[in-house]
Subunit: 302 residues, 2 copies
Amino acid sequence: MAIIECVPNVSEGRRPEVVEAIVRAVAETPGIHLLDWSSDASHNRSVITLAGDAAPLNAAVLTLFERSLAAIDLRQHRGEHPRLGAVDVVPFVPIEGATMDDCVQLARATAHDVVSRFGIPVYLYEEAASTPARRNLEDIRRGEFEGLAAKMAQPDWRPDFGPATPHPSGGASVIGARMPLIAYNINLDTDRLEVAKKIAAAIRFSSGGLRFVKAMGIALDGRRIVQVSMNLTNHEKTPVFRVFEIVKREAARYGVAVLESEIVGLVPSAALLAAAQWYLQLDGFTADQVLEHRLRTTAGTP
Amino acid sequence: MAIIECVPNVSEGRRPEVVEAIVRAVAETPGIHLLDWSSDASHNRSVITLAGDAAPLNAAVLTLFERSLAAIDLRQHRGEHPRLGAVDVVPFVPIEGATMDDCVQLARATAHDVVSRFGIPVYLYEEAASTPARRNLEDIRRGEFEGLAAKMAQPDWRPDFGPATPHPSGGASVIGARMPLIAYNINLDTDRLEVAKKIAAAIRFSSGGLRFVKAMGIALDGRRIVQVSMNLTNHEKTPVFRVFEIVKREAARYGVAVLESEIVGLVPSAALLAAAQWYLQLDGFTADQVLEHRLRTTAGTP
């Protein structure tokens, strides 16, 4: 069995009973594990983390659309977070026994099913994008729900699946495939914000750093220290340990020590096993040697 | 569901058809995962690695005894490895969601069932031992099958369960609970065997080193380098990263670099996650943040 993660974002974060009903219906899909979910009232948005094989996830996402479209009307929706649709974005993430290609296929198949069942237009993004201009979610979402009709009228912004007019209450949805995202922060033993900002600039892609790092320097006022706050968007190509070592080295240049680092939320075990392997100089090691991995990949008798 | 590992050693390694039949019968126990098995002809011995919850493992071990006692006669058994019984040793190992205490209980319950079904005497060892003198397998096994009747006649060596006379063909069995054992080697960039021997002496418990390390220095003749070859018997209390760092530091004292390290066979993910956490200075991290761990501990809908 493959493990694919799916992290749908739904445009409702203020009516707990509505969100709970949606989450419950989705989690009841056979073969689905509900790993996490949370709502943000100021964003008026909820994030659900599911895992399972391709077929159960496809079924779960269709249930998610059915329930969300019935319960959410974007014409009434206000919140701080940009959004395009009732089901705003649905990324599929390969974890184990599934490739990025499998997730791209799953995104396309799910987009097709969503259009044929609910008639809502769908854009494909990131690894599933049909053109480079549609890789970034921010570009697709620019103009938001309120600007969607005008945007879709442009030849460049016809949706990948479905009609070129927004669903009246549900807008449009963005479905795609991406690597797991790791929220990773490193705390520095100084209150000099400019040090964190300089290190963030050194490490992040946009200003010349590592390709799959987004970073900013922030002050943790309560503790009178600063933090390099990061998103790692491809831990296979830009591994956690390399980010840590470079930040530590850059901090040393300012005479500053690393106090500690932290991972916020979930992390695939492969990202941490890679760190253990690198630091321990482990050679010839395969994931198959990890007892729990072997357990998942050997069939248990029913 | 708890994950307990069980690594029975059976005194048969020269008749593949016999071993395969035993392994197949054991692996067919409902709820059992067969993780690995291998036979050694010169030892005339096979090692089977199983995983599952307590009740399935108890059932699997009873099947193992039934099949092994029917197929193996220690009176005819010759091999390089010391042994006391047809089923020589059965350790239960806590991996996840089970404590050492759970494994001790499981060892005692299984010993009880084995005696009442097969009438074979059982010693308890390591964490399940009834007295400190019975913790070490080597002490229990001293004298082997051939000396068993005389040994059992001594008041100090009455078995923990069952009759004080050996089973005619099956001898006696040793059942217990222990931590996972990690076979861990570090290769050094030198052909000076005395360097590996000195480092092994520095790191191992028996000559003043870390409590849960057994170590020796050996030459890897094919590569003209040397190796510190180790067994780590409690990775929670003597973690892999500390062993690695001390060996690296000791090697530096002789002007020698670490080429690489290796883990032979299976390792619990916790041992490597601990290394990642230590090197990355990860604070406030819990196993629950590892996606695959979360997946195992959230009920999937059937």
